[in-house]
């Protein structure tokens, strides 16, 4: 079967696939066509680690980053023609920053492993990619797939005493399907007991011969934890010997909800993943659905999407800027940043009708066209912001105390950043100008003229300076949108767009029926798989959707940047002080909703 696949699947003129076939033999793989054009190969479970190691170290332009690792419960999937039989599939998505877009499509690589049985086993990838650790814990937590050899395979998103693995198809998706929840004294005691931190379980010592370490709970409720986030610190005085980030307090099952919501009604949920990103979150989701449905979005819609996304990049970065300096101990900047955010939200509200969570993008375009007079509002904002940024530059960014507090704090190299799957500002601060808007242009970003600011030392100060510069670049992009806004429709003329086209509804009965079904059930998106990555406010965010030819998604995978960034914390902060941790945590720029989903 594998023999004839290379000719049937587009993208197999790909050099990586040729190298893989040469090394492991074409029989080792089954290629799968996908809607996003990403080369997708099925590999045997016994061979996956070998293949990953080869891709990471054995080829030119290696895949240094494990971008995502997730799983799919395949047991109820109907449209699996041509795919190897499987009860569960584990999916590895690899990213190489050295590879550019090819004519055939994206240079990234997706590997899949078919697994059989109720609770299948698979060797761990932590021996190849350090950041596989949390991803494998998540897959075990949510699917019950066991990774043999994993150093610490325990629940990560759900409470330790949770029963079941929620993303399995047999697990209930609604509270009404459970018995009523009762919290009695015994259960409360047991739950609290389970949350106690036991250093030995993490391979930590309680002290050396001469001294005891202090274990400090930093969070889940701490002013500088930026949400319900807990880091257990092992400290020697004020110096951090080691630490363990503990996440999951903000988990709300966003991926499971995707399996219960229509394609259209899931859009507002995406707004709340990175709750500072607003419509920037809608973008990868609707673009993925559009790939599955084969919808071409008109240029006006694309340009408006870019413009509003950049507005949200600015509001998110302003919040980062204010809270970062607040965590450094400066009191005032956060108020100035919020004043500026307010100005941006005034524009956003006028355009979308909503402030933080507009859910304004639609499958195929936008909810409505730009309002009359939008040019004046946008122009006022782009004229206003750069002056304020210049003031901040003098008052805060060049302040010697700020520099003293943030220079060389939690610095890491490009290689470390890639190893941990760090993207966005955290990666660019190390000196690598990797921005998806340039590296994998989407939504028409290739038509814009802007620069990708980079740092040089990869420390907290670089991350601050870089994001201030990114705001300037966003203003530049918004200006170009303002000056070159295409005319034309704001939504594609396609039957699968939402809400569906209505103008011919009352003309004949067929379109009336179709419209009625599309509105009541939502569109039926053709079976297939696709993934879209975007450079979101905090790093690379992507939605990997599997459609089984239904009104709802079969599997919604949300890969968020913040999740990867938090996993990196211990490696970057060991040996520094608690005040440095606060600065580092602030410089990551994350929100817990984005981490826990």
């Amino acid at each position: 079967m594998a023999d004839d696949v290379p000719h049937a699947v587009p993208g197999l003129d790909n050099e990586v696939l040729r190298e893989l076939y040469a090394r492991f033999g074409a029989d080792a793989f089954v290629a799968q066509p996908t809607k996003d054009g990403m080369p997708t190969l099925w590999v045997g479970a016994e061979r996956i680690i070998e293949v990953l190691r080869f891709l990471k170290g054995g080829i030119a332009k290696p895949y240094k980053t494990l971008y995502d690792l997730t799983a799919v419960d395949e047991r109820l999937r109907k449209n699996r023609q041509g795919l190897p039989p499987a009860d569960f599939t584990v999916v590895y998505q690899l990213l190489s920053v050295e590879r550019d877009m090819t004519r055939a499509g994206t240079p990234d690589l997706r590997l899949k492993v078919a697994l059989h049985g109720e609770f299948p086993h698979l060797p761990t990838a932590t021996t190849v990619y350090a950041n596989a650790n949390w991803y494998e814990r998540e897959v075990w937590d949510l699917f019950g797939i066991v990774f043999d050899g994993h150093p610490n395979l325990r629940r990560i998103l759900l409470p330790p005493r949770w029963v079941g693995h929620p993303l399995r198809k047999e697990h209930p998706a609604r509270a009404t399907e459970f018995d009523p929840f009762v919290l009695d004294q015994m259960r409360q005691d047991l739950d609290q007991e389970a949350l106690l931190f036991k250093p030995e379980e993490w391979g930590m010592k309680k002290g050396t011969e001469n001294e005891d370490y202090m274990f400090l709970n930093f969070g889940p409720n701490h002013p500088a934890a930026h949400g319900a986030f807990r880091i257990v610190l092992q400290m020697d005085g004020e110096e951090i010997v080691d630490c363990v980030p503990d996440i999951g307090y903000h988990h709300r099952g966003a991926e499971k909800m995707g399996e219960r919501q229509s394609w259209h009604s899931y859009i507002p949920y995406t707004d709340r993943i990175d709750y500072l990103g607003g419509v920037m979150n809608n973008l990868p989701y609707v673009m993925t659905v559009e790939k599955l449905a084969g919808i071409q979005v008109p240029p006006r819609a694309q340009t408006v999407r870019i413009m509003m996304s950049e507005f949200f990049r600015i509001t998110s970065h302003l919040l980062f800027y204010g809270t970062f300096l607040q965590d450094v101990g400066a009191m005032s900047p956060v108020f100035y940043a919020f004043v500026d955010r307010q100005k941006a939200y005034d524009v956003i509200e006028a355009v979308t009708g909503f402030r933080m969570h507009p859910a304004w993008f639609r499958i195929g375009g936008l909810a409505h066209d730009l309002p009359q007079g939008w040019e004046r509002l946008v122009r006022e904002f782009v004229d206003y912001l750069p002056k304020r940024l210049d003031d901040y530059q003098k008052a805060a960014v060049e302040n010697s105390l700020v520099i003293a507090r943030t220079r060389d704090v939690a610095a890491y190299t490009t290689a470390e950043a890639l190893e941990w799957g760090t993207t966005g500002g955290g990666l660019r601060a190390t000196g690598l100008g990797y921005d998806l808007r340039k590296a994998r242009p989407y939504c028409g970003y290739e038509n814009f003229d802007f620069e990708v600011p980079t740092g040089s030392r990869g420390d907290a100060y670089d991350r601050l300076v870089l994001r201030v510069e990114e705001m300037r670049q966003s203003v530049r992009i918004i200006k170009q949108c303002l000056e070159n806004m295409p005319s034309g429709p704001y939504k594609a003329d396609h039957p699968l767009t939402t809400p569906p086209p209505k103008d011919r509804t009352l003309k004949d009965i067929e379109t009336l029926i179709t419209h009625f079904l599309q509105v009541s059930w939502g569109p039926v998106i053709p079976a297939g798989e696709a993934c879209t990555m975007v450079e979101a406010t905090k790093g690379i965010n992507s939605y990997y959707l599997t459609s089984d030819g239904s009104t709802m998604s079969y599997r919604t995978r949300i890969r968020t940047p913040s999740y990867a960034h938090l996993q990196q914390i211990p490696s970057a902060i060991r040996g520094e002080m608690i005040a440095d941790l606060v600065v580092y945590v602030a410089s990551i720029d994350f929100v817990m909703a984005d981490v826990d989903r």
Binding site: H222, P223, A224, Y336, L401, D580
Partner: protein
């Protein structure tokens, strides 16, 4: 009526003591009220500088906010966590507020007003400022909580390193005035000009040390909100928290007053010689200037890291105040020699 007046006239010592007591009570109440009003001033000024309003609802310009806050804090449950060392836990805020108020006894407000004149006023001030650390340290330790403990540790290190040169930075003034008595320091300045000019480096070191001792921003490391939640007073609530809180503002008023007394001529100013009533307005105006300065510092500066703050103390301020001391001594000796 006459009988009472006669009785007072025939017991002059008692009368003098009574008047002194009344003056002391007036100064005490005045200090507490000014400190409470200072909270309002700080919030309004911060609001002004941060593009927002601050408290503006209760009374004219929101002046009644302080009263409302006080009523609230008096009626709050006086909660003592079960895990604390109860006696020390209660003692700490009392020390914090008590010592600050006690130090005010040393301030010569006007030529005729002041609680007590000690001939070792400067030394007593330094001693009481040194004791102040116990409030925070004991509060942090007795809370039996890790954040509070870290705050307590920080304040101990901070106060120890900053007290060293706080004392040294004042010795130049003592040499010039030839006395430890604060009233004589003021009188010396009234005749010879303010100490800020000859003692500029001493002034710099002293102000830094004074901010560190009352742990105001940027030296608020013991209660660094973004790092240690609330630091040493994490476990405190109600009136006991209120005493720490008001104690901090009394501290600002005190540090402003002592700076004015030592470096800016206290009550002296144009017109005081001919119109004695101008002494207090001058004193109050100068204090207000420094109080607002402290608020401006809080609005504009970030917080240094613990080790950086210690480094500045030992490596910059201590040598600076030592050089200042040597220089002053040389000048004074040269003056005597001629």
């Amino acid at each position: 009526m006459d009988a009472i007046a006669n009785w007072f006239a025939s017991h002059p010592q008692f009368t003098a003591a009574l008047i002194a007591c009344i003056k002391a009570v007036v100064i005490l109440l005045g200090t507490v009220i000014v400190a409470a009003w200072m909270i309002w001033l700080e919030r309004r000024l911060l609001g002004l500088w941060q593009d927002r309003y601050g408290p503006n609802r209760i009374g004219p310009f929101g002046l009644g906010q302080v009263i409302a806050d006080m009523i609230k804090i008096f009626f709050k449950e006086d909660w003592i966590p079960p895990f604390v060392d109860k006696f020390t836990f209660i003692l700490a805020p009392a020390i914090a507020m008590g010592l600050m108020l006690l130090m005010f006894a040393l301030i010569p407000v006007t030529p005729t007003w002041g609680v007590a004149d000690f001939n070792v006023g400067v030394l007593l001030f330094l001693a009481l400022a040194g004791l102040e650390v116990y409030a925070v340290m004991l509060g942090g330790w007795s809370s039996n909580s890790k954040y509070a403990l870290l705050g307590g540790l920080r304040v101990t290190a901070q106060t120890v390193s900053y007290e060293v040169f706080m004392g040294i930075s004042l010795m130049g003034i003592v040499m010039l005035a030839g006395s430890f008595d604060l009233r004589q320091v003021v009188e010396y300045q009234a005749q010879n000009g303010w100490n800020i000019i000859p003692q500029f480096f001493g002034f710099c070191a002293f102000v830094i040390a004074a901010i560190a001792v009352v742990h105001r921003t940027p030296f608020d490391l013991p209660e660094a909100e973004s790092e240690l939640a609330a630091g040493f007073h994490t476990e405190y609530s109600g009136m006991k928290f209120g005493m720490f809180f008001v104690g901090e503002y009394v501290g600002i008023v005190l540090v402003s007053a002592i700076t004015v007394v030592l470096f800016f001529g206290g009550w002296s100013g144009p017109g005081v010689a001919s119109h004695a009533w101008l002494a207090f307005p001058w004193f109050a105006l100068k204090c207000l200037f420094f109080m607002s300065g402290f608020i401006l510092l809080r609005a504009s500066l970030p917080r240094p890291r613990y080790d950086q703050m210690m480094a500045v103390g030992w490596k910059v301020c201590l040598p600076l105040s030592l050089i200042n001391l040597l220089g002053t001594a040389a000048v004074v000796l040269a003056g005597q020699g001629s």
